[in-house]
Amino acid sequence: MLEEVYHDLPGAVKTLPFRLHMRPKRLQRIDYSAPMPAPAYEISWFGDRCLRICFGNQNTAETRALVFSAFQMIDKADVEGCFSATPAYTTLHVRFDPLAVREPERIIRSILDSPYTRPSRCEFHLIEIPVCYETEFAPDLASVAAHASLSPAEVVRLHSSAAYEVAFVGFTPGFGYLTGLPAQLAAPRLPSPRTRVPPGSVGIAGDQTGIYPSATPGGWRLIGRTPLRMFDANRAEPSVLSIGNGVRFRPIGRAEFESIQRTIEGRA
């Protein structure tokens, strides 16, 4: 079902100015034209103005693909009075004005069960995130390496060579839940969370890796930092990550970190 095609776009920097450093490479295609299994789902009320659509309880690539295509179908249907949909691993929550939308469950079923709204092919971006893994930005690299019985350099190599997928964006603005962390790199959370994690910090917690988009308290082990602003409400595309994106981390040195940071600040 999954076919990956990468194109280098050397001209991207010139042709897509605001996407500089965001979308240097395209693109990954997922082909849905192969027949998908008929989506089995359950709908239940989540409060009085939200429906929860559940595609099972197994967090697998197939379930996530079902959630994603359902999200796209509902988004494209653009139902009057329907505000937003929150995709997650196996569920999709659809938020609406209950007094404006009559029979929301029937509407959702008619969208999801219609073969005409099923996307036949989706295009995704492979997003390359530059990450500086140098000690100053990586206070927990040594402890992650010790936990994995690897050298810090091997941790960086493994972390930056794996292919990740944005399962969904949630929790806080611009935070992507990434799947695909190499199993050796799994590491427990810090025994006591930091009171402030700087924005852009790349961390590991359990079998998850992610990037803190804004300064928050946090208990993830920090192994690097990206100069990108993962979320900027004033940008045409506020969130660097969105559901279905492919992600790779590209190790960069201190000099490149600062130069990218200057470019971004210069534009803001």
Binding site: C50, A85, T91, R95, P98, F168, G170, T172, A233
Partner: protein, 320 residues
């Protein structure tokens, strides 16, 4: 300059509007006024749009100076409000008042409820971010530079259309609903494999106290622990304001307007839309209980509340 200056910011003062539920898939919560009912009433008293941006005070009001004449209304939590200027007198909340250039308005500690709103004719002028004017403190966007107001800040006000502000004889009839109601109506979710009937039963019977660890993102409750069947953990999924999560320690968390858009704690019930504004007025140590309501009853209650709001501008007399 048609502006308002912050002399003392109070405990936590932000610019808030009605929030926008459009960007959940980017992790952006709905946001906006924690008690949207009080904001809407304040704006209607002044003849504003419902979503005109206003100042939201938390527990302690601010002291502000008007640099030009305006009409204002203060709604929500009860506080002593003092006007200092050409005439010095206390102001009544839920009603419109004219203020002159150089007038100072002092809003004291909030003694009933938790949040008050200062609405100005025309609304506070802030740039629109993600189709809204509301401040998101965690991500640092919206409102006034994405942050809480500080002493010395100056905010522009929109020029109001020259329409008479209205004295509403009983605008404060909405006050008891948001300020005094301590039974929150909520819709129970299917228990599935997350709760057993005894745990759910205990939840509906228990009187909880609001913890002081509560903010716009969520209200933490303290009381008898509610057991879960999944050790307070499940796969992360979508959340909405009003969702009542039960984490490992069994102490419920009601999500607020700035909630995390996804979460991994099991949800037992969701507060009905009609009672969501009350969440913005719960203060530490308040006692709350929950009352189950069906989805169709919740819709009926919400419809009645909106009808009451619609009838509201009819009962008005212009003020001098």
């Amino acid at each position: 300059m048609h502006s308002i200056s912050i002399l003392e910011p109070g405990m936590l003062t932000t610019v808030q509007s009605l929030g926008s539920p459009l960007f959940a898939e980017m992790g952006v919560p709905e946001g906006g006024a924690a008690d949207r009912l009080s904001l809407i009433v304040g704006n209607r008293v002044l003849g504003n749009w419902d979503h005109a941006p206003a100042l939201e005070f938390t527990l302690i009001g601010a002291t502000v100076r008007f640099d030009s004449p305006s009409t204002i209304a203060i709604t929500g939590g009860e506080a002593h409000i003092q006007l200092e200027g050409a005439s010095t007198r206390p102001l009544q909340s839920w009603n419109p008042h004219r203020v002159g250039a150089g007038d100072i308005v002092r809003i004291g500690p909030i003694t009933r409820g938790c949040r008050a709103y200062l609405c100005v004719a025309g609304g506070i002028a802030v740039p629109e971010t993600l189709f809204g004017a509301s401040t998101n403190l965690r991500a640092g966007f919206g409102g006034h530079h994405g942050r809480a107001l500080r002493a010395g800040d100056t905010l522009e006000m929109n020029r109001a259309e020259p329409r008479p502000a209205i004295r509403v004889m009983d605008a404060d009839r909405f006050a008891p609903h948001v300020l005094d109601r301590r039974t929150l109506r909520a819709i129970e979710l299917p228990l599935a494999n997350r709760f057993d009937p005894d745990g759910a039963d205990r939840f509906w019977r228990t009187e909880f106290a609001v913890s002081n660890q509560s903010d716009r993102a969520g209200i933490r409750l303290e009381g008898e622990a509610i057991p879960t069947l999944c050790a307070g953990r499940m796969l992360s999924e979508g959340m909405t304001p009003g969702a009542i999560q039960i984490p490992e320690n069994g102490q419920p968390i009601i999500l607020g307007v700035d909630h995390p858009t996804t979460g991994g704690y099991p949800v037992l019930a969701c507060v009905a839309s009609v009672d969501l504004p009350i969440l913005g007025q719960l203060r530490p140590r308040d006692k709350v209980r929950f009352e189950p309501v069906s989805v169709s009853d919740a819709h009926r209650l919400l419809r009645a509340q909106r009808q009451r709001l619609r009838q509201f501008p009819r009962q008005q007399v212009p003020i001098r």
